[in-house]
């Protein structure tokens, strides 16, 4: 399937950033989305845009992005228009001719070539720099000061909010791109002023400098500046004669006679000045604007992919979703706290009946010997014994019964069934359940194990049965 390659705009960048602050989806949801859009798998940017479009509704209703963008656009239009008008007015000022002193082309060249070229060079150095160096260089640009002044206006906060959303690098490219555009508009204004003046007024150009520059030397300099169009448009390069007749000396009380005699020829400079403006201030600036625009787009895409949460999203798109959890939520068991009811702390020496649950008779004898307990009626129950055998033991028990149990083996319902049978025997007055530890621990059982037995026996709610915690 052909994938339409949508470009990232500042609007989509801001929307995406806002969406990621609100919602990032779970791995399961994101992986499912990616599996449904397999054709976009190889294109991170496009799959992210598709994800953004799908989840766009999750953004806050009162999004500020459009408002911020409108403010940005208004501010941009205002500065753009200002630059154009300022360029035009600057051009009118530079070319103002009262009929007495001619217009010095060197002034004009300063604005139409030297300053733009210097500004472009600083721009390029700025683009290669970062941090403090960039900040220092940006002080050279009028746009920096214009934006600083505009910062005091009421929408400053909105701009600050938007600025906080962009990386330093992106802000740099945004600034440089804007700078080139406004400088371009300024130069267009300047060229427009030149053309208007040339059409509407008879203007005399001259050149004048304190430096010792010969006419030939000046010609060579101008020819060098005009090299880019010299071959295709030779009439737009001033001739040596024109340069000679336009040379103006400040010590002359009036215009010299040569200038007056060739007044009609002095206007021929305009073609050269127009071409200088067109090539250096407009064409080169236009190229730089395109380059910064490209750099800005690239940076925007880079930042788009580096927004907080994007790498996680991409990883989740590409990584199979593995789950190991149970879909059924477990109903947690309420643990009943034990109390000291039905707990005996003393073991008698003689019992009427000794019964060992899951103890063999030999094991019971060992316990008796170790604990100094005796009885004439000793039986083994549980384990491999049959129910019938257990029932016989329960029936044959009498008076006070001590029931040995393995403390580490929790009481099963099988055990409880047997205890209930013992309790059902009217001859049995009392059953003392004695949890015993392993032989290795000398039959000592720990608190945790005793606690389990206490809780279970208390659950029987019988006054005839006790747990020995000695």
């Amino acid at each position: 399937m052909q994938i339409k390659n949508h470009k990232i705009s500042i609007e989509s960048y801001l929307n995406f950033s806002e969406l990621l602050n609100e919602y990032r989806g779970t791995h399961e949801e994101n992986r499912l989305f990616a599996l449904k859009h397999e054709e976009l798998f190889s294109n991170s940017k496009q799959i992210l845009l598709a994800w953004m479009n799908k989840n766009d509704f999750r953004k806050k209703e009162n999004s500020d992005n459009q408002n911020i963008l409108n403010k940005f656009s208004t501010l941009g239009n205002f500065i753009g228009l200002f630059s154009l008008i300022f360029g035009f007015l600057a051009g009118l000022g530079l070319l103002s001719y009262s009929g007495h002193a001619p217009v010095n082309v060197i002034y004009y060249l300063l604005f139409a070539m030297f300053i733009p070229v210097a500004s472009m060079l600083i721009s390029m150095v700025s683009l290669l720099s970062s941090g403090t160096v960039f900040n220092a260089l940006s002080l050279f640009f009028p746009l920096h000061w214009i934006e600083t002044i505009l910062g005091f206006f009421s929408f400053k906060d909105k701009i600050d909010v938007a600025n906080n959303l962009f990386s330093t690098e992106l802000k740099k490219w945004m600034f440089m791109s804007r700078l080139q555009l406004f400088s371009l508009l300024f130069s267009v204004g300047l060229l427009f002023a030149l053309l208007v003046i040339v059409v509407s007024k008879d203007i005399a150009f001259s050149w004048s400098t304190t430096l010792h520059v010969t006419d030939i030397g000046f010609f060579k300099l101008l020819a060098c500046i005009g090299f880019p169009w010299g071959h295709t448009l030779p009439s737009a390069i001033p001739s040596v004669e024109l340069i000679e007749m336009s040379h103006y000396y400040r010590l002359g009380e009036n215009l010299n006679s040569q200038m007056i005699q060739n007044a009609d020829k002095l206007g021929a400079w305009w073609k050269y000045l127009a071409m200088v403006t067109l090539f250096y201030a407009i064409f080169l600036r236009f190229l730089l604007w395109l380059a910064t625009r490209y750099g800005y787009r690239e940076q925007l895409e880079k930042d788009f992919l580096e927004l907080d949460g994007v790498q996680k999203l991409l990883r989740e798109f590409k990584t199979p979703f593995v789950s190991t959890e149970a879909p059924k939520v477990e109903k947690h068991l309420k643990i009943v706290e034990e109390n000291d009811e039905q707990v005996a702390h003393v073991v008698a020496r003689v019992y009427d009946t000794i019964v060992g649950w899951n103890f063999s008779e030999d094991e019971i004898l060992l316990v008796n010997d170790s604990r100094d307990i005796s009885s004439s009626n000793i039986s083994s129950v549980g384990g491999n014994n049959s129910f019938k055998e257990d029932q016989e033991v329960a029936k044959g028990a009498s008076k006070v019964v001590i029931l040995y149990v393995k403390s580490w083996e929790p009481p099963t319902m099988d055990f409880i069934d047997f205890v209930e049978e013992l309790l059902a025997n009217a001859d049995v007055h009392e059953v003392q359940v004695y949890p015993l530890g392993t032989v290795g621990r000398n039959y000592e059982s720990d608190e945790r194990e005793i606690s389990i037995w206490k809780r279970k026996i208390q659950g029987l709610k019988s006054k005839k049965v006790w747990v020995i915690d000695a």
Partner: protein, 471 residues
């Protein structure tokens, strides 16, 4: 949606973890399923109904584990089975099915039906015993019932206590199970987890392939978790080390109280970032329940800004100087000193010489408080980015230690986890070459610059290698 009925009929390996009550069945399931939501208790009967834990990849079940209640009336079940008409071995499972059908709804056998049902429906048997307690003949009844089910089976020796009756158990279990393995869900490493799965794959020929797939999936998942942990740690490092805290003041210069407030705010914010990062790591490793138990956070007892933390996780004075010099940090800082911008390192050196290791690694030289001019007469104090040379290593060492404990922590573990007394120094896990790579990024952040992409990549690589080495 996955239902229990569906899981029992579909053709993928299923395993029922069964046994006597309180022998660690839920712990084993919790550990194998990497799910700490399983209730584990020392009270028998904690698990009341069977619960399936499917391993799903993009929604497809690869295998499923069933946590089951323990046997309660095993003798009665076996007695019932024995009372039936004698049948040939291939029909014995049908007798168990008949038991389930006959006693469904009988409250006496709820537990037995819950545990036997997945088995008669094709689940393999994983019989769990506590090998730290002696073997008893009463277990034979349970094993006999399981033999009636006729499903592939293995036994797991889980050493819950300190005593060891493994040999006793092995000789008894060998009569009933083809395979007997030792697995401690609390201490099991990822490798042991995989080895157990590998053993499970050998129970039935048809299960070998899907379980091998599962092993690959889990290994990939483990790698992803390591990478995510490293990314999270590095993001936090960048965030903390470049953090600048400001505080508005009223006068021309800051009062002592204002300066203290600024410093306090700075510290608190950084501590908050560390907590966030720890939570993130716990989520990555699926230890979501950790917050439910108080005092469970690994480093709670050793504050980020404490001297203990500095002495455990920081670099020694000598290593700090070597690292700084090799990465050009000292050179850079020397320039700062000349410019009057950063006398902190010099302060550290002097402090180190005078006060010993404590002053060097301590936090007396954390702050460089600046008064910044603001518009219309307002002023503010600022502190940051972090200038202390040792702090990045302390923070990184703590992050690494926490991530390591969480990554290695079994999902069956429910108790506290505290910093061990074992020696753990960032120096030991980060060799001088790695520290050199780290220092380059620290230098950039200290200057308030964004680290270069390739430097950050190298940083992540160094951290990942150290993390993997520790795992």
């Amino acid at each position: 949606m996955h239902s229990s009925k569906e899981s029992l009929t579909n053709d993928y390996p299923k395993f029922a973890v069964v046994g006597h009550p309180n022998k660690g069945k839920s712990s084993i399931v919790s550990s194998l399923a990497l799910d700490d939501s399983v209730q584990i208790g020392d009270t028998p009967g904690t698990t009341q109904v069977k619960r399936g834990f499917p391993l799903k990849v993009d929604g497809k079940i690869i295998y499923e584990l069933f946590d089951t209640p323990g046997f309660q009336r095993a003798r009665r079940v076996l007695s019932w089975l024995n009372e039936q008409e004698p049948v040939s071995a291939d029909k014995k499972t049908d007798v168990v099915r008949a038991f389930i059908a006959t006693h469904r709804g009988d409250e006496r056998f709820i537990d037995e039906i819950e545990l036997l049902e997945p088995i008669v429906n094709g689940a393999g048997i994983i019989y769990v015993v506590d090998a730290s307690k002696p073997y008893g003949a009463e277990y034979e009844v349970e094993m006999e019932i399981l033999r009636w089910c006729g499903q592939p089976s293995m036994a797991i020796l889980n050493l819950i206590g300190k005593e060891d009756y493994t040999d006793q158990w092995k000789s008894a279990l060998g009569h009933y199970f083809r395979m007997v393995r030792t697995f401690n869900p609390i201490k099991a490493t990822f490798r042991e987890h995989i080895e157990l799965l590998d053993s499970m794959s050998q129970l039935k020929e048809e299960w070998t392939k899907p379980i091998k797939v599962a092993i690959t999936v889990l290994e990939d998942l483990q790698n992803q978790k390591i990478e995510q942990s490293v990314d999270s740690m590095v993001d936090n490092m960048v965030k903390v080390l470049s953090f600048v805290h400001t505080y508005k003041i009223k006068g021309e210069s800051a009062t002592e109280v204002e300066e203290e407030r600024l410093k306090h705010g700075y510290r608190e914010k950084i501590i908050g970032y560390e907590k966030e990062q720890e939570k993130n790591i716990e989520i990555i490793w699926n230890h979501r329940s950790i917050e439910k138990v108080e005092n469970m956070l690994v480093l709670d007892n050793v504050g980020l800004f404490s001297k203990e933390s500095a002495s455990i996780f920081g670099l020694s004075q000598q290593q700090l100087i070597i690292t700084g010099a090799s990465a050009g940090a000292i050179g850079g800082l020397g320039i700062d000193i000349l410019l009057g911008g950063g006398s902190l390192f010099l302060g550290s050196l002097i402090g180190g010489a005078v006060g010993g290791v404590g002053a060097m690694m301590g936090f007396d030289n954390l702050y460089e408080v600046k008064v910044l001019g603001q518009s219309i007469g307002k002023r503010e104090l600022s502190v940051g980015p972090m200038q202390n040379l040792n702090f990045p290593y302390i923070l990184l060492g703590r992050s690494l230690y926490h991530a390591l404990v969480i990554a290695k922590r079994s999902h069956a573990m429910r108790g506290d986890i505290n910093l061990d007394n074992e020696e753990f120094f960032t120096e030991q896990v980060m060799d001088s070459e790695r520290r050199k790579v780290l220092e380059k990024v620290h230098v950039s952040l200290r200057k308030g610059d964004e680290p270069k992409e390739e430097e950050l990549k190298a940083y992540k690589k160094a951290l990942k290698e150290s993390f993997e080495g520790l795992m």
